[in-house]
């Protein structure tokens, strides 16, 4: 299984290509070394033969057949020329002189270079000779040779060395490739196995780490982190769908009950109108929840980033304050705006308005009747900041992180109007704008601050 995967893996194929290329280059280099070494050795021996041949030919031309025979005899006796073999034969190939016993039958060419094996045709270990031939005008034939068996052996040795080196390189590279590929494939296979397990059973599986802190461990770590994030998100989605189910079922149940009662009861004009009016109001509440959810979902796709412009937070906040001042009036709440006159951010005016409106609305609703709501705009260390503070009961610090969840409502606000999506929308708008939300105890009350990033020019 693993071996089959190893052999079909792309790493292995790449390694094979690399080995192949490397092998061709190495073979080329080794062949060049082999050829140049053997030709160098051979040319040295050829030069020695040639020198000897020239002096013998000279002797023949100067002093004829007898002079040559004398010279050959003298050479045969000389230890300095022990490597050389000579043979002078008459036209009938009968030996006239030299240290070869008879004219080799394999040699037929009249002159020039030749190679042949000396000795009896069926004897073993016959030495390989390389010879220069000459046929004199009277038909006499001269052969000057050297034993090149050693030379040949040397070339063979080089050849063997070259071939075995190449074979060794291929073998080692092949084994290393398989081992490395196996390791890679093994890690990938672990990741694959975990993926399959997740698809089959659930998000609780994680890729095991080897503790080697190498790139594979890092990949596994990151994938595990991604899985953690997905698991958290899935949990939130489940929480949200539970809440959606609850918040939608309540008005839908009321509507159904009302309609059912009306269906079985008598038609009474005034009652019917009241019932229908209440049902439309409940339906509108349900539709509003849908609208808020799709709006948050749309903001979270980040598609709106394309329409970002530079806007003045103070202008937007002033419009919100002006609009909500009317809402604060009946409770005797004083709504005021303080801080800088120009605080620029890069963003979407409608969405920022919506977010600030939600925060101000919350501050008025959950603040103290006759209290104060202060909207402050500032540039702090080059960062645009807006804060909305009330002096109401505030919320417990341990609830801070929960209030941004969809449909989350604090116990005491369960019966005030609202659908628990306002702060989720604020959080989504903040995320889209790369803004950080900070919640602080305003002692008394709650102070919520949005830290935007400096506007891009």
């Amino acid at each position: 299984m693993l071996l089959a995967k190893t052999l079909t893996s792309s790493t292995f194929k790449l390694a094979l290509i690399a080995i192949g290329t490397f092998g061709v280059i190495v073979s080329g280099i080794f062949s060049y070394v082999y050829l140049s070494t053997s030709s160098y050795v051979r040319s040295r021996s050829d030069r020695a033969i040639m020198t000897e041949y020239s002096s013998l030919q000279g002797a023949y031309e100067r002093s004829g057949r007898d002079g040559l025979i004398a010279l050959i005899q003298q050479r045969v006796a000389d230890k300095n020329f022990a490597d050389n073999l000579y043979l002078l034969a008459d036209p009938s190939l009968a030996t006239l002189g030299g240290n070869l016993r008879a004219w080799p039958p394999a040699v037929t060419a009249p002159k020039g270079w030749t190679e042949f094996r000396a000795g009896e045709p069926n004897a073993t270990n016959r030495p390989l000779l390389r010879a220069m031939l000459e046929t004199f005008p009277n038909g006499d034939r001269l052969l000057v040779a050297r034993d090149i068996s050693d030379l040949d052996g040397f070339a063979d040795q080089i050849k063997t060395a070259v071939i075995s080196s190449i074979a060794l390189i291929f073998a080692v590279a092949g084994v290393v490739t398989i081992l490395v590929t196996r390791r890679t494939v093994g890690r990938i296979e672990q990741i694959n196995a975990t993926s399959r397990a997740i698809m089959l059973s659930g998000l609780d599986k994680r890729i095991p780490l080897r503790g080697t802190h190498d790139e594979w461990d890092r990949v596994a770590e990151n994938l595990n982190l991604m899985l953690d994030r997905i698991e958290t998100l899935m949990g939130e989605v489940k929480q949200v769908s539970d809440n959606v189910a609850h918040d939608l079922r309540t008005p839908l149940t009321r509507m159904r009950g009302r309609l059912e009662k009306a269906y079985h009861g008598e038609r009474v004009g005034e009652d019917d109108q009241l019932l229908i009016g209440d049902t439309i109001a409940d339906l509108d509440a349900v539709l509003r929840i849908f609208a808020s959810l799709t709006r948050i979902a749309q903001i979270e796709t980040q598609a709106r980033k394309g329409a970002f412009r530079t806007v003045n937070l103070v202008e937007i906040a002033s419009e919100v304050v002006e609009l909500y001042d009317a809402a604060a009036e009946p409770d005797g709440t004083r709504l005021s705006i303080v801080g800088d006159r120009e605080v620029l951010v890069t963003g979407d005016r409608d969405l920022i308005f919506d977010a600030i409106a939600n925060l101000v609305d919350n501050a008025i609703k959950h603040g103290r009747a006759g209290g104060q709501v202060v909207v402050a705009n500032e540039n702090i260390d080059g960062k645009p900041v807006i804060s909305i503070a009330d002096d109401g009961p505030g919320i417990p610090a341990d609830q801070y992180k929960h209030v941004f969840k969809r449909f989350y409502r604090l116990e005491h606000s369960r019966y005030t109007p609202g659908n628990g999506l306002g702060l989720s929308l604020v959080a989504a708008v903040a995320r889209l704008h790369g803004a950080r939300i900070e919640m602080l105890d305003n002692a008394p009350g709650l102070k919520l601050t949005l830290w935007f990033s400096a506007p891009t020019s």
């Binding site: 009016g277 439309i280 539709l287 509003r288 609208a291 808020s292 799709t294 709006r295 979902a297 749309q298 598609a303 419009e319 002006e322 609009l323 909500y324 009317a326 809402a327 009036e329 009946p330 409608d350 308005f353 919506d354 409106a357 609305d361 109007p417 609202g418 659908n419 306002g422």
Partner: protein, 230 residues
């Protein structure tokens, strides 16, 4: 004013919705033609002179916005109300506002639809350039941006004046909360609270407080209307 100005083309493929649209528009005194597909809309659109054309965004053959563009290319200037089920997500519909046309998100109330159609239809009427608008004893000066009743000045914040101006310009017609948000605040969302009512309440106190008769009337379930008695 010719008869064509009370004539409306409804482009809607769902038979039940189409029936409801035709019924409610007819009840309001409009003469309604129905087209069930984009192609039918194109042939009817060029054949008659309509005051307003309502087009469903998702038609079986051609996209509603493409139908609108084609009608424009054919030289049809009638204002178009696009009806979309996609809502906020439908960015292409958002872009329509620049062209002066309007859009409505499904599901909608028929009073809202009627208010929108009325407002759109008004644009094809002759617009008289006036600097002072009057309703009953209320006079609003569009140049000095001041309002008065029986010659007595009413102190209004700029936004409050804008709101009153929009209501007065639509005298006798119903204006929905969403239309107010859109035209007075240039906002395209539902604040999901009664903030508009609270705001209108404040303007109403200033305009109608201690007067012989009220001018700003609440239209239950939809919005407001400005009209003089009688």
């Amino acid at each position: 004013m010719t008869g064509g100005h009370r004539r409306i083309l409804v482009v809607e493929d769902d038979p039940e919705t189409a029936g409801q649209l035709v019924e409610s528009l007819t009840a309001s005194g409009y003469q309604v033609d129905l087209a069930a597909s984009g192609n039918e809309a194109l042939s009817r659109g060029v054949a008659s002179d309509y005051a307003v054309i309502t087009i469903d965004r998702m038609l079986p053959d051609i996209d509603g916005i493409a139908v609108m563009r084609q009608l424009r290319d054919d030289g049809i200037a009638a204002p178009v109300l696009i009806i979309s089920a996609l809502g906020e997500v439908d960015d292409r519909v958002r872009g329509l506002r620049a062209g002066g046309d309007d859009y409505l998100v499904k599901p909608f109330s028929f009073v809202e639809l009627l208010a929108r159609v009325e407002a759109l239809g008004r644009r094809s009427d002759t617009i008289v350039k006036q600097t002072i608008l009057r309703v009953g004893d209320l006079a609003i000066d569009l140049v000095s941006r001041t309002a008065s009743r029986r010659g007595k000045d009413i102190f209004l914040l700029p936004r409050e004046f804008q709101l009153l101006e929009y209501l007065v310009r639509n005298e006798g017609r119903v204006v929905s909360r969403a239309m107010l948000l859109q035209h007075v605040w240039d906002l395209h969302f539902d604040p999901s609270t009664n903030i508009i009512d609270v705001y209108v309440g404040r303007v109403r106190r200033k305009v109608d407080g201690q007067q012989a008769y009220p001018l700003i009337h609440t239209i239950r379930g939809i919005g407001y209307s400005v009209r003089a008695p009688g």
